[in-house]
Subunit: 363 residues, 2 copies
């Protein structure tokens, strides 16, 4: 049954763009047609998503000269080499600056495609069709694109805003539970870092959302995108407030880096990272024991991990965190909670408290 | 003997930056110090330039944490793989978003370094110290950065403006005559495409410039940069007027592509390309036979080629030109001369005239 539809606008002056959120959007040509200016369209997808949704999207594009690039599925392919596969395809098809790229898939496809679009002939248009909960609420909003380097995550990339984002929540029907939970980590993040009303709503609805109530999902995706869009509009290039969106991420990226990308899903690592940041916030005197329990409860209800499983030494974790891009001249800056629903960026927390949290979570 | 010094400002709002042009600039710390904000500095140079100027530049940076990456010399190394060598070095040095890169060398070093700076952690600061005439008057001004792909030149890149450009014409003393001539091609280009006064001046002074009269060189570099800076300020992202700077380039890139990068120097290929464009402009009824002779004369005085030496078929040249990024949906757009000192972008010239020019220049 079709439910509510929403349109958000990310306000970035000449680079503003709409986010369409709803059900059954991939049956309507206008969403795509209205945002493609040339004739040439390159769809980039992966070997998991393409068999399910590619034909559906191609059917919407009968007015265009469409080419397709299918990438292997997995974070380990989010590399400069994979980006070069897309450049090969664009050049073999003789696509010029008027071409539009469409990213059809999760965050990895979106990030690589966005970076390829940012760099091909110094920048062409692209449209995001995110098909995972994580990419719908996170990576498809805000224009961050990029690939990993063996020495660090997202170390190579560009700020490149899409022309439109089309979020059809029906695509979540084929998403497995583990991936869905990973997306919920980012949804919960918006509540924790800056929106206590949304947090309360999520605490009430998390079980129904996990049971895939479509209206509640549209609402949760929409509120998440709205929170992110507002922050991005204020601070596109992450010189200030946008850093708050990294809540849980410096810990999380460190965990991913030490265990190797792919051991945890990104959202799972962020879940552990948010819990670690909540624990540090407690030691810093901001949160009560009960607050931290609430954080653990909602993450657990969303079937997310709160502890690191696997061998990680304190030393290696700190080393991995210090190369993370939030570091300025060597200091590890972290997003901590002031209280549930408000956060701040800090590099002046107590080193002892930080060490204690790291020790408690490492084996 | 020290001669005149000039400061130009490229007007791009928040991205505006100065170009310093003069003699003995690499002996003064302030030019660099005033444009570096963090502590971390990565100098990128190549195996030809580094032995001559690297120590001199490092001496200017005693307040900073300086790392160096030396690339092999040559257009064939202007690739994504080489860019990755720079990312490796930045990450191994744990450089963060506050780092500044310095490109010390010719156009290849500048283009790769600029693209690395554009992409590292989604964009860090960089400064250009161009050491060849070509890079001083062309690639160091305007923010175009990028690398080649085996299927086309400059196909991967970004618009990323430097914080400053420091042009010390003393570096030209170690430049061989062939490279100097290649730079003169771009100098002459500014006269031909939009500045008849400058063209007349060059026709008068070309011999003295070729004899390395330093004051005349400073003047020629400065006028070239000024013309380019004015055009870039009007049209940063090449949606209109900036295309005129491609005068001679679509032919030239085609020649480079067919013969293989490195057969001709870039400026040499552009010289042939400008002469071909002048010939087409004559067939289109814009230039007189005498005008085209003047074009040939000044290029010849600058010791530049006007004809393709080497086997190039018409078919291959057209194919290579049509993949060039100035093509829109398959049509080859060219910059033609209205008269000496004025140019326009056209895709409505006569196909027969175009074919005739191609045939006359191909073997």
């Amino acid at each position: 049954m079709v439910s509510n539809q929403k349109i958000l606008n990310v306000e970035l002056g000449a680079k503003s763009y709409p986010i369409y959120i709803g059900s059954n959007l991939l049956s309507q040509k206008s969403y795509l047609e209205n945002h493609i200016s040339g004739k040439q369209v390159m769809i980039v997808s992966n070997s998991t998503v393409a068999p399910i949704y590619l034909d559906k999207v191609i059917k919407l594009l009968d007015k265009f000269n469409v080419e397709v690039t299918i990438l292997p599925d997995g974070e380990q392919y989010k590399t400069l080499e994979t980006t070069n596969i897309i450049f090969d395809a664009l050049l073999k098809a003789k696509f010029d600056r008027s071409a539009t790229m469409i990213a059809l898939g999760g965050g990895v496809v979106g990030d690589i495609t966005g970076f390829a679009a940012a760099s091909y002939q110094r920048g062409i248009n692209f449209i995001q069709i995110p098909t995972t909960l994580l990419s719908q609420v996170d990576s498809s909003v805000g224009g961050k694109t990029g690939v990993n380097h063996e020495l660090g995550k997202n170390m190579v990339g560009a700020f490149h805003q899409p022309k439109a984002v089309i979020i059809d929540v029906d695509t979540l029907e084929t998403l497995n539970e583990r991936e869905f939970s990973a997306g919920m980590a980012e949804v919960i993040k918006y509540g924790l870092l800056g929106n206590v009303d949304f947090l309360l709503e999520l605490e009430k609805n998390v079980d129904a959302i996990m049971n895939r109530d479509k209206n509640l999902i549209i609402n949760a995706v929409s509120r998440s995108c709205e929170d992110k869009a507002n922050i991005v509009a204020e601070d596109e290039f992450e010189r200030g407030k946008r850093s708050l969106l990294n809540f849980g991420h410096t810990f999380g990226h460190g965990i991913e880096n030490v265990l190797g990308y792919g051991t945890y899903l990104h959202g799972e690592a962020i879940s552990i990272g948010m819990y670690m940041a909540a624990k540090l916030s407690e030691l810093e005197g901001n949160l009560s024991v009960g607050d931290v329990e609430r954080v653990k409860n909602i993450l657990t209800k969303a079937k997310l991990p709160c502890n690191i499983e696997g061998e990680v030494s304190s030393e290696n974790l700190i080393k991995a965190m210090s190369i993370d891009k939030k570091a300025i001249d060597g200091n590890i800056r972290l997003v901590l909670l002031k209280y549930l629903g408000d956060s701040y960026l800090s590099d002046s927390y107590s080193k002892e408290n930080f060490q204690q949290v790291i020790s408690n979570f490492c084996q």
